[in-house]
């Protein structure tokens, strides 16, 4: 994981815009980050921060009114602007995505067996028989009891946690290099969440997979991830290794976010709050989107703010921070 290595995913200046009735919504604004082989990257942010849209853009899954600019290089190949046919060869095979609600991602009319074998028959040219055997093996691997028989069930016959395991198994069939997980445990109970996180950690070890994990839960980040990207109003505010982010957050938004969480490991009389509300993406202020709620706001915040490197692989986008502009 030296800095010289070619990153698995290299996102540069990614911007995602949507034309809506009331104007132009810029959901992601100049996002740049790199993901190296074997890392688990957490992406945290509140609703409207652009965390999901940026990942959908990378997968080429934006809604029809979405416009993407910038560059996304995956294993050295540019993904922005390539044809759907070419993209289809990559996604599902080399990169896969799982979503928050497995029920909306699975086809309720098809048995798990036909949904899983389809992936392998399409991407790996396997016969149905081989694909089925492989699917059962993978369901076993994600600890679905009695996989041999349960592969022939319909999605509604599984519980929420089991469905999410099926989704994970399905996304792993082709042994992708990169797994993008969009809040896969948010709808699950904590004890089930603990099982799924454990499973992801094991699978990374076994398959050498790289994972991008979108969440709003800082606890999950601390549990699972190596690095974290903090997003707000479409901007990447701060990125660093988790040991650094939790101990020495530099961006006022990261600091405030960590201070507002009621935690199990310490008690406070009154929770710190961030005043105001998340910004309206239709009417973003010039400069930093957090300025109206920030306790350390200054005149420089309305200007164009560069990403600054504070130390190796700790990057901040704040007008009031020190560091080398990138």
């Amino acid at each position: 994981m030296t800095a010289k290595k070619i990153p698995l995913l290299d996102v540069r200046n990614l911007t995602v815009e949507f034309k809506v009735q009331d104007g132009l919504v810029r959901a992601v604004n100049g996002l740049s980050f790199k993901v190296y082989d074997g890392d688990i990257i957490g992406i945290v942010g509140e609703s409207g921060s652009g965390k999901s849209q940026s990942m959908l853009a990378i997968m080429g899954l934006l809604a029809g009114n979405g416009k993407i600019s910038g560059s996304v290089k995956f294993m050295g190949q540019e993904l922005v602007g390539i044809s759907t046919a070419k993209l289809n060869k990559i996604r599902g095979d080399k990169m896969a995505m799982i979503f928050q609600d497995p029920m909306t991602s699975l086809n309720p009319y098809l048995k798990i067996s036909s949904q899983m074998t389809e992936v392998l028959m399409l991407h790996k040219n396997m016969s149905y028989k081989d694909a089925l055997a492989e699917s059962i093996k993978m369901l076993d691997r994600v600890k679905i009891p009695d996989a041999k028989n349960r592969v022939h069930l319909y999605p509604h016959e599984f519980s929420g946690g089991m469905r999410q395991r099926v989704m994970i198994a399905m996304s792993l069939l082709t042994k992708p290099k990169l797994l993008i997980a969009d809040e896969p445990t948010t709808a699950l109970d904590v004890t089930v969440q603990a099982q799924i996180l454990e499973l992801l950690r094991d699978l990374r070890k076994e398959f050498g997979m790289t994972i991008i994990f979108i969440t709003h839960d800082m606890g999950v980040v601390a549990n699972l991830c190596d690095r974290v990207n903090v997003m707000y109003g479409g901007w990447l505010m701060e990125t660093a290794a988790i040991q650094i982010i939790f101990k020495n957050p530099i961006h006022p938004y990261t600091q405030a976010l960590l201070a507002t969480i009621p935690s199990l490991d310490h008690d406070v009389d009154k929770l710190k709050t961030i005043p105001g509300e998340p910004p309206n993406l239709l009417q973003l202020p010039a400069g930093c989107p957090f300025q109206e709620r920030c306790s350390q706001v200054s005149a420089a915040c309305t200007q164009n703010i560069p990403l600054r490197r504070v130390e190796n692989r700790h990057v901040v986008k704040c007008a009031n921070s020190n560091g080398v502009a990138l």
């Binding site: 509140e46 904590v190 004890t191 935690s263 199990l264 998340p278």
Partner: protein, 322 residues
């Protein structure tokens, strides 16, 4: 401390529709629980989905029918209350829902929404008096008066929850039941609403029943905590001791599964993963309902249901705890 609510052997069952010749199926959502709520306290109810915490809360508010048992509130048994008695109960006990946007009628203005409980339960109140109360309640929850004629869709989630709280408080109730009231909110807004609820509790001397699956939030605002699993109470005790010294194996597993926002603690932690899945509340296991997943389970656990016993000031329902 004065008891404000006393629940005894309360059951909330739901019958599933079944065919003519099929046996009747019954969901045992809440299956015989006892607890008390004292004036001025915040009692947290935790548990995973399907444990019956919401069914319990809704039954206490008259939104679900109580199947058997009793719940004594101010001398009224909620299990047998008449419509007139429920009106009295609702003047003193109000409910705040999870999804703030879905809980508000999109065709009503903020003033109409907040005034509705008042207009319904005090039909003779003068219009000017109602509006004065609406304004004072809005101020109380941090809404500005010039928003009074707007519609819910013009507000953000956090503000909608403030409207929901105002609607509950306009009757000046003694008890608030909050069912996952901050779960749908973003982190920064969640903290604002939690602080608001705490301020209001002190100012108005409210008793709060706070239902949540978020153990961090529960720890922050509750005095006592009740842990439920599959319609039964597993453990009940003061906040401090539940978190520092959990006794029931389920409480232990639940607490260890919560990720803490501290990488060092997370690395050091040994998580007690629960095996398997939550059993169906249609056929809850015999004996202790948790025995199918319990790491300590033995033969005796599947035979009979453990009685509540008091250990180190917790009430705990487990054979294995001495």
């Amino acid at each position: 401390m004065k008891k404000i609510l006393e629940v005894k052997n309360l059951k909330v069952h739901f019958e599933l529709s079944s065919g003519l010749f099929k046996p009747k199926k019954v969901v045992h959502a809440v299956d015989g629980i006892d607890f008390e709520v004292f004036e001025g306290e915040t009692l947290g109810i935790v548990g995973e989905s399907g444990c019956g915490k919401s069914s319990l809360a809704r039954a206490l508010c008259g939104l679900n029918k109580i199947t058997s048992g009793s719940a004594l509130f101010n001398g009224i048994d909620l299990a047998k209350a008449s419509a007139k008695q429920w009106d009295e109960v609702h003047k003193q006990m109000q409910f705040i829902f999870q999804d703030p946007v879905a809980a508000l009628d999109p065709r009503m203005t903020v003033a109409e929404i907040i005034a509705e409980p008042l207009v319904t339960l005090y039909p003779n109140m003068k219009q000017t008096e109602v509006m004065a109360k609406v304004f004072s309640t809005m101020k109380l929850v941090g809404l500005s008066q010039n928003q009074v004629n707007r519609y819910p869709q013009e507000f953000s989630g956090g503000q909608c929850q403030r409207i929901g709280i105002a609607r509950a408080l306009i009757l000046e109730p003694k008890v608030l039941i909050c069912d996952e009231s901050v779960s749908a909110l973003d982190v920064s807004i969640k903290a604002q609403i939690i602080n608001l609820l705490q301020e209001l509790q002190q100012k108005l001397k409210l008793t709060i029943l706070f239902i949540s699956h978020d153990l961090g939030v529960i720890k922050h605002i509750c005095n006592r905590i009740l842990v439920m699993y599959l319609g039964n109470i597993m453990e009940l005790g003061a906040k401090k001791t539940i978190y520092s010294d959990p006794l029931h194996p389920y409480t232990k597993a639940l607490l260890s599964a919560v990720p803490v926002a501290n990488p060092e603690l997370e690395k050091a932690k040994v998580i007690q993963l629960l095996e398997g899945e939550l059993p169906s509340p249609v056929n809850p296991p015999h004996g202790c309902v948790f025995h199918t997943r319990c790491p300590l389970a033995s033969e005796a656990c599947s035979q009979s249901r453990p009685a509540d016993k008091t250990v180190r000031e917790h009430s705990v329902s487990c054979f294995k705890v001495n």
